[in-house]
Amino acid sequence: MTHTPVRLVTIVRSPGVDVLTRNNVTIIGTGRPIIFAHGFGCSQDMWRLVAPHFAADYQVILFDHVGSGGSDLSAYRPGTYDSLDGYADDLVEIVEELDLTDAIFVGHSVGSIIGLLAANQIPSRFSKLVLVGPSARYVDAEGYTGGFSQTDIDALLDSLDGNYFGWSRTIAPVIMGVPEQPELAEELTDSFCSTNPTIARHFARVTFLSDNRRDLDDVSVPTLVIQASDDVIAPMPVGQYVADHIADSTLVVLQVSGHCAHLSAPDEVVTAITAFLE
């Protein structure tokens, strides 16, 4: 069936909600806006090695998805965030609240899909999309290889259970013998990627069981796909699929290992984004 990005149901934009507080929006510098969206498992901290490179020439905008980092956890309604559209609606609200135009969006992993959905809602406000390690669907389907099975996703949820059991325990700083790190750094870094375990579990389910293949067809904004050469979460064919199904897109493959190129090879990511923006 042909799929239209136009919503027939009018979403009432949360009246009276301070979206900038809700999503812990951070703004650095001035100029053409560039928005960074993090993926599952972390927060805007993920961009700390990449985003500052753009602060001299751009208005850098960072935010946390509701449920992650410094976002307002009380804004979390599981029914609303039961699909990536809930997160995309928030991003639309941020862009409209800041009245951004000609905006560049840079998203990692599921954050890239969230940005893509937001751009499909309000394409006129975006001029470029950069998708780092995107996957339109993680679970294999007929004629499509996402790399994972439903059983794998169930195992992920089990793994979250095992890990977040002691979530509240790890809030209290436990000093470990890391001589390089002074205590101040310890305090500052302790909140990295903080995530409410219940919300993380739901976000994991929504993220890894999402199917956004149809949405790729609706992308009208010029798009760069940054693909790591060795990424088990979003392997090469998955990135290739995303690039193939977005009309105006470019695929750049970085010779890096792992799913978080912006952490393991930030300079290469900065170079690729800069080249795309020029």
Binding site: G41, G79, D152, A155, S159, V232, I233, C260
Partner: protein
């Protein structure tokens, strides 16, 4: 990616036999450290910045059944099942890189014979290397998972009890149909973790009217198409529609609507009181949902509870209506007429009260029967309603006697209303062809000056009506009080 060359595995896995100039003491110390490393009471690995294992101790080899040559050169991630690789890549490695260390992370390791070994991992970044400590944790993990599972069950039961308690108090405290419907919609939305929910009630015309919540499928629950809602009302059983090609065959418009609204599932529940379905409650989901039987039961019970309250509320409304209205004509009854007049008289302003008695009605009743008589009275009621002005009140005082209350109206204006009534009644009645029927009317006009009793003004209008009868019927007599 690191530009540093990886450590040659052979250099690290064993003391180099060709190492020059080591004295016996050094060799002894070196061997002790090697033994300490290899036989530490936990698995110990070193990886490079690309997660490739460059060194693993004997304890880790024993845990996994993989000897050093199998481990070195492969990525640590490869030892994990796919589900845990997701966590490793999306959370563990980012936190490790940002924070410099992680501790007590739980993973499953796949061992050489394919069995799964739950472990706890601490990792520290040291320059270009990562040091990883691995502790077998099968017992602790299974214990914690049992605790977690028990805790979840308890929380889920507690949440369900809370929902039922909240519902009971919301329904018991509800004072309007809308209030009950709003409560049911919000309880459903919260309990089922739906993106939206709505409640639609069958209106007197028999169609569904959304009275609370958000109907994310405009026109599909209510409205002309009557697709889902009326199906549920007719069958009295819940219907689930997913945005899938299978369901599109049966509910094409619903599935198209779901896709346009970016929803995956809609569930519509009947609101049934005994055997009567008085409405539906619908829940909308952004992700595909299949409700379990116990969830459906709870929702149906809540919907039944809401239906009972609504039905009781409607019965009370009907009683209240009956107390103030004439059953045959639906006009205000005597009690209602008297209280309306009393209310008007409470403030000092003009009031005209019209008393009307039909002429020729007794003959119709006697010769054509009460059945025809009742039909005439109903028709008269209709004609009175169309003859009076917007603010006037029409009532049946008893038998073939009617009262029209014209609040704030002087005698002349009341007389023009009366003139229209005369015309309407004189027009004849199809049910009583050949029987002349007309109206004798008396109007009492009160100027709002001196205090006036309800009985006095009704009595005056009644007396004026008799004067009209005496003067030959089919006319109006006016008395200014």
């Amino acid at each position: 990616m690191s530009d540093e060359p990886r450590h040659p595995a052979a250099d690290l896995n064993a003391p180099d036999p060709n190492a020059p100039d080591l004295n016996a003491h050094d060799l002894n110390a070196h061997a002790r450290f090697e033994a300490l490393f290899d036989h530490a009471p936990f698995g110990y690995l070193i990886t490079d910045s690309d997660d490739v294992i460059v060194r693993a101790n004997a304890t880790f080899s024993a845990m996994t059944g993989l000897d050093a040559s199998a481990l070195v050169g492969s990525q640590f991630r490869e030892l994990l099942p796919a589900g845990f690789q997701l966590l490793y890549e999306t959370r563990h490695l980012p936190v490790l890189r940002l924070k410099g260390y992680v501790e007590e992370v739980f993973f499953d390791l796949v061992t050489a014979d394919g069995t799964v070994l739950p472990v706890l991992v601490n990792a520290v970044i040291d320059g270009a290397e990562v040091r990883i400590g691995v502790l077998a944790a099968a017992n602790r993990v299974s214990y914690e998972q049992q605790l977690l599972s028990t805790q979840r069950t308890a929380e889920s039961l507690a949440a369900r009890v809370t929902v039922l308690q909240d519902a009971s108090s919301a329904f018991a405290g509800g004072t309007s149909e809308k209030g009950i419907a709003v409560s049911l919609a919000s309880i459903l939305e919260e309990m089922l973790v739906a993106s939206d929910a709505c409640v639609a009630l069958v209106d007197p015309a028999g169609s569904l009217d959304v009275v609370a919540g958000t109907n994310a499928l405009d026109g599909l629950i209510e409205g002309d198409q009557h697709l889902l809602g009326t199906t549920v009302v007719a069958n009295g059983t819940p219907v689930v529609v997913h945005a899938t090609d299978e369901d599109a065959a049966e509910f094409p418009a619903v599935v198209a609507g779901l896709r346009k609204a970016r929803l995956q599932t809609v569930v519509v529940f009947p609101m049934t009181n005994d055997s009567t379905t008085i409405g539906v409650a619908a829940a909308f989901f952004r992700r595909g949902r299949d409700l379990v039987a116990s969830e459906v039961e709870v929702v149906l019970a809540l919907a039944r509870q809401a239906s009972q309250v609504l039905t009781r509320m409607r019965a009370q409304e009907q009683l209240a209506y009956a107390a103030l209205h004439d059953q045959l004509t639906g006009l205000a009854n005597r009690a209602s007429i008297r209280s309306s007049i009393a209310l008007s008289l409470a403030s000092p302003r003009r009031l005209s009260v019209m008393f009307l008695d039909l002429d020729g009605f007794k003959l119709v009743n006697d010769q054509l029967g009460h059945h025809v008589g009742d039909a005439i009275l109903q028709e008269v009621a209709t004609r009175l309603r169309t003859s009076v002005r917007g603010g006037d009140i029409v009532g049946r005082y008893g038998g073939d006697e009617f009262v029209v209350i014209c609040d704030g109206t002087d005698g002349d204006a009341a007389e023009s209303v009366a003139a229209r009534i005369h015309d309407e009644i004189r027009a004849g009645f199809a049910e009583a062809d050949g029987f002349p029927i007309s109206a004798s009317i008396g109007i009492a006009v009160y100027e709002g000056t001196a205090p006036m009793a309800t009985d006095a003004i009704i009595g005056a209008a009644d007396a004026a009506m008799y004067e009209s009868k005496r003067l030959g019927r089919d006319r109006t007599t006016r008395v200014d009080l």
